[in-house]
Amino acid sequence: MKKATIFIFVFTIMMTVNYADILTFSLIQNVTDNLFQNKDAQEDKVSFFGLYIDKDFDRTSLFAQGGYNSLWENPDAAHMSLEAGIDHFFALNNQTALYLLLDGGGTFYRKEFNDFNHLSLDFYTALKSYLTQTSILKIDSSSTYKNYNLPIFDSLSQSIHLSLDKYFQTRTTFQVDIEWGYKHFFHPNLLNSISVSSEYSAGSMGKGKGYSKGKMFYQEDYSSDKKGQGIQVFSFGGTAAQGLGSRLGLRFSGAKKFMVSGENPFTYIEDYYMIENPSYDSYSWEGIQWEAVMTAVLSWNMELKIGYNYFDRSFPGIDVLNDEGDTTGEMREDIRKQISLLLQKDFKHFSIFLSYTGIANSSNDLFFDWEGQFFSAGIEWNIFYGARK
């Protein structure tokens, strides 16, 4: 599957590079002191190299992109991602616009993490409409199908997000958001093969039962249970945005999410930096989140964004495990505080950015009681490449 996908992608790239309009190279360097985001902080550097091409036809665009993440200290977690798709804008009437995006791709890891290899298909729609001159309605819908090497992660998810905003004379915009989502795992208990580690004697990086970093899958009993399981989430929230002149903007938002039905089907879950762990996403938790963001336009048109996030999350279906790997009967709950800074400057043919994120995550599962810092710097270079008619 992997070789066929890569071959098709490379062949498509080589054919379409003749006709592409834009070719973009990206180089991003990331540094962190806690790659796996747990108590045993591990430093690492992640280098990303990306290539992107697209071909535009008025409001339609065909695109393809590929990227490679190389980890300096954990080369087993290096991965390549490929994606191609098409999108289009419609004007439904004078007040309403519609955007559609369809794309497919795959992500492939090295041997030790190849249980995370997956193919995905996404369909996304976004509608925006001016209800009145001070009020905008937006409806977004997203459907994603993912097929993993390790079949317990195969899933189909669907979400719909609705937002309605209103601007007031005080220069404040209030926005109400509602989101509903459903994720169906096709067979989260089906386990008929194991990932076997090669000869090495490194220390453990996981915690007993459950899935641990793509390495040895440690589970007492194998299962041929093909039954599916779903998680349904619902959230509502609001945003208040205040403009202070044209150069400065402030935004405060809060949201509450409920896991309406279902729960995480896995024994425990981890959240890594720059490595997508299929068991940890927006469907895996419920709780509240707050955000405060300031955006500013500085001299030379540089954009600065400073943000603070607060999350109080619990993970239904995920128990706190003790050192022996046995459940304590308590549901895992995390409180996360996060600060982020982003500085970006766009030039004619390239853009650069610098960012910093600092996270403090406290949890009743001490293994996930951690702090981490994440730095990124990147450059994106656009080549207007194609012949135009």
């Binding site: 080589m14 590079v17 003749n18 070719l23 300096w72 080369p75 093969s193 194991i194 076997v196 580690s197 090669s198 000869e199 090495y200 004697s201 490194a202 220390g203 453990s204 996981g206 915690k207 007993g208 040895m216 440690y218 007492e220 009993d221 194998y222 050192d323 022996e324 790997g325 080549i383 207007f384 490449y385 194609g386 012949a387 135009r388 008619k389």
Partner: protein, 413 residues
């Protein structure tokens, strides 16, 4: 990667080569571009002249400038066009792009041609004057697609990118391959050196131990005979003590035999062995010891798995591992799992002890290395020897303070 510096050393020639190619190619393209621009400028000035004549003709026939103008805005290569009066005020204009007419005073001061850059590629601009028979003075501003130049540049750029990518790809594969060979060679050399030393040490120990064993066995045999004699001659009340003494001597003899056999090369007697039956036997052997420590032994069998192996040696290897696991801690459980993965047969033995300390992990398979008070340190050494004789692999993983998992992989068809 540990050898990052070494790796970069190989890449430097590649990067240098790529940079030189990039520079030469860019200079070449720039030269071609300049030359073609000159040629195209002449050609398009001629085109502008023809347009001016035609528009002048229509104006002379009293057709309005808008009408005259739009008649000629059919040519696909014309991106925009504007007609200006004698005061250089726009009378009429059209553009293919919403509101795009890049005309400014700096360009209209004098007649001339110039090229501007745009997201649709370079556009040739021409601003020139013409007059009609009625003495009307007009200016024509024309924005023309430099399609030919675009095509040439496009092909040049495409070829450049393809060749550049090919050079990078080939370079990466070549130098990476070279690096891997070098790395492999270095590793092999180190391993060979290590093996050689090990072998020499082994030969020394083997010779020494054989000699010592031989020297000790002789007097031991004599002691055994002596005890047998004492058994016959001494009264009944002493026979028990004499028997105990004889047993101790025989024990010493067995220990010496064990040492000797540990150092001898193994001769395998292979038969078809059922993994399931084997681990049942192992469990039976260690059951008593396990019960005394309060440890449970659990077997997990994933199907019927058979392998060609020396049953006795393999059993001995597994018993060593399980007894090691029992020594790791009291209570808890030991799980023995058998499985098959692709063409390999796998046995795993997992304990729930404290795990192997970091400083010992490199040495646990070394002969005469033991962390136990009374251990001789040859159990794991023998186990690995047996597994290697079967062309298999043994490895272990320490779970954070939760015990150790030993994994044996044997080849199987």
């Amino acid at each position: 990667m540990k050898s990052r510096g070494f790796f970069l050393f190989f890449y430097l020639p590649l990067i240098g080569m790529a940079v030189i190619f990039f520079l030469l190619s860019s200079l070449n393209r720039r030269y071609i571009s300049n030359k073609v621009e000159e040629l195209v400028q002449e050609q398009l000035e001629a085109t502008a002249d023809i347009l001016k004549v035609n528009i002048a003709h229509l104006l002379d026939e009293n057709i309005t400038p808008e009408r005259a103008f739009e008649t000629y805005f059919q040519e696909e290569k014309i991106y925009y066009m504007a007609l200006l009066d004698e005061k250089k005020e726009i009378i009429a204009w059209s553009s293919r792009f919403e509101g795009y007419l890049p005309l400014s005073k700096e360009f209209t001061e004098d007649q001339g041609s110039w090229i501007i850059d745009s997201p649709v590629g370079p556009i040739f601009n021409n601003f020139s004057y013409f007059s009609t028979k009625n003495q009307g003075i007009y200016y024509l501003y024309l924005g023309y697609s430099l399609q030919n130049l675009e095509d040439m540049l496009f092909h040049s750029r495409r070829n450049f990118v393809l060749i550049f990518s090919l050079i990078i790809l080939v370079g990466v594969i070549f130098f990476f391959g070279l690096f891997q060979i070098q790395k492999h060679y270095l590793i092999k050399e180190t391993e060979t050196e290590k093996e050689k030393k090990e072998k020499e040490r082994y030969m020394e120990i083997s010779a020494f131990t054989s000699g010592v064993a031989h020297e000790i066995k002789n007097p031991l045999n004599s002691l055994v005979l002596l005890f047998e004699l004492l058994q016959k001659r001494f009264p009944e009340q002493f026979k028990k003590d004499i028997e105990a003494g004889e047993n101790e001597v025989r024990k010493i003899s067995r220990i010496i035999d064990q040492f000797s056999s540990a150092l001898k090369p193994l001769e395998l007697k292979k038969t078809l062995v059922s993994f399931g039956d084997l681990i049942e036997e192992v469990k039976q052997i260690v059951e008593i010891n396990a019960s005394s420590k309060g440890t449970k032994i659990k077997l997990i069998k994933k199907g019927q798995i058979n392998v060609n192996a020396d049953k006795d040696l393999l059993r001995q290897a597994l018993v060593n591992l399980v007894e090691n696991a029992l020594e790791a801690g009291t209570g808890g459980k030991i799980i023995i799992t058998i499985d098959a993965y692709k063409k390999r047969k796998i046995i795993k033995i997992e304990d729930s002890g404290g795990g192997i300390p970091q400083e010992d992990r490199e040495h646990i398979f070394d002969p005469f290395f033991s962390t136990k008070k009374n251990g001789m340190g040859i159990g794991l050494y023998l186990t690995r020897k047996i597994i290697k004789a079967h062309e298999g692999k043994i490895s272990f993983e320490v779970k954070q303070k939760k015990g150790t998992v030993f994994t044996i992989e044997l080849p199987g068809g």
